[in-house]
Every structure is written in structure tokens, then in C-alpha cells.
């Protein structure tokens, strides 16, 4: 495949990956206080997202981007809240292992990566357009 067009495809894969990352971050933040629905149950477990390069489906010479979503196995927090329906016999409730500050930092990073990918797309697209405009002006 044409190298410039391929770079547009790869940049688009990057856009998708960062969009997925923002989705995971928003899920984590939205559920930062979600406890179990039943007593002694586990609360929301933080989702993680990892990126890996994969062979492009369009061109075997290029590497595209794959997204894997997993879960964070770090321990849950504990809070004493006897009135909560999720509380155990001693009145403790398991809290999600989400650190909102960490999620916000991740979101900023996703935002920057998204912008970089957009810039890449713009650049490659502009280069193709400039080449085509050679036809118009003598």
C-alpha cells in the first residue's frame, strides 16, 4: 500500500486506540465509588488498557495498533459504613481500587496522544493533497 495512505490508516488506528483509552478512563471514574450490590460482594474492579503493535491487515509491511482491556488486580480499599447494603458482618465495605487522580493523568496522556495522531493524519493528508495540487498549477 501507498506509504502516505498507510500512515493515515495507522494514525487512524492510533485515534481509535486513544478513544478506547478515554472510554476506559471514563468507566473507571464513573465507577470510582461503585460498591457491590450484595453484602460482602466485590466492588467495581478498575479496568486497564494496554497497547500492542500488530501487523496491519492492509499492508504486511506496516505495524498497526491493537488494544487489550484487562482488569487491575490490586487490592480493594476498605471503609467502615455499616448502613451500606454491601457491608459485611463488621460493617466494612469494599471500595473500588480506582485512583481518580491516576485516571485523570491517564486521560491527559490519552488526549495528548490523540492530538499527536490527529496531527500525523493531517500531515500525511496534506502531503498527498500538495502532490495532487501539482496537477493544477503549471
Amino acid at each position: 500500500m501507498n506509504a502516505l495512505r498507510m500512515s493515515i490508516e495507522v494514525a487512524a488506528a492510533g485515534l481509535h486506540a486513544q478513544a478506547e483509552r478515554v472510554r476506559v478512563v471514563s468507566e473507571n471514574i464513573a465507577n470510582a465509588h461503585s460498591v457491590a450490590a450484595v453484602a460482602r460482594g466485590d466492588p467495581y474492579r478498575r479496568k486497564t488498557i494496554t497497547f500492542a503493535s500488530e501487523l496491519s491487515r492492509l499492508d504486511p509491511a506496516a505495524r498497526s495498533l491493537a488494544v487489550r482491556i484487562g482488569t487491575d488486580s490490586s487490592p480493594f480499599g476498605m471503609e467502615h459504613d455499616p448502613g451500606n447494603p454491601a457491608a459485611d458482618a463488621s460493617g466494612n465495605v469494599k471500595k473500588p481500587n480506582v485512583n481518580v487522580l491516576l485516571e485523570l493523568a491517564d486521560m491527559r496522556e490519552a488526549n495528548h496522544a490523540y492530538e499527536a495522531d490527529l496531527q500525523m493524519l493531517k500531515q500525511a493528508s496534506g502531503m498527498i493533497s500538495t502532490t495532487i495540487s501539482m496537477l493544477r498549477d503549471n
Partner: protein, 99 residues
């Protein structure tokens, strides 16, 4: 994802076709059929962009995909216009030729 766009490489083909018509009347695809093929290819890209736009409005497609599709259509169209302008210009050049 999209139908293959008219490639930059095809420009080479276009010019060699025109050269072929002028130099020796060789048998092969003439410019009209070449142009027709490219137009059909181009209309595929335009249709893809159109459906991407409507799917984007309906929220079935991500903005990034819609933008990518429309940019591809724009490039394809620009290229077609460029080739047409060049061809028309060369025809006009022939009509202006002193007899």
C-alpha cells in the same frame, strides 16, 4: 476499508496513454475508457464518504472514521479534477496549434 483510490501511480499511466495516442496509434485502452474507469472508482469513494457522513450523523460511526472517509473522497476528487484539467488543457493546446 475503502475501495482503492485512484493512485498517484495512475497518473503515470494517464500520461503514457496520452503519449500513446499522439505518438503511434497503438491498440490499447484509450483515454476515454481509462477516464471512465477512474470515474467509477472515484464514485465508489464518494459513495463511501456519503454513507460515512450519514452514518456519522446517526452516530453509528466514529467522527475519526467519518473525517478519514471524507478526506479520502476529497483527495480522490481533487485528483480526478487535476487529471481532467490537464487533459482539457492539452486538448486546447492542440486546437491552438498553427496549421
Amino acid at each position: 476499508m475503502l475501495a482503492p483510490l485512484a493512485n498517484i501511480d495512475t497518473l503515470k499511466l494517464a500520461t503514457s496513454d496520452v503519449g500513446g495516442l499522439v505518438a503511434a496509434n497503438t491498440v490499447g485502452p484509450d483515454f476515454a475508457s481509462y477516464l471512465k474507469e477512474r470515474l467509477v472508482e472515484n464514485s465508489d469513494v464518494l459513495k463511501a464518504a456519503e454513507s460515512a457522513a450519514s452514518r456519522g450523523i446517526r452516530g453509528e460511526m466514529s467522527e475519526a472514521d467519518v473525517v478519514q472517509s471524507i478526506l479520502a473522497a476529497q483527495r480522490s476528487l481533487q485528483q480526478m479534477i487535476g487529471i481532467r484539467d490537464r487533459f482539457v488543457a492539452s486538448l486546447q493546446e492542440i486546437t491552438r496549434m498553427a496549421i
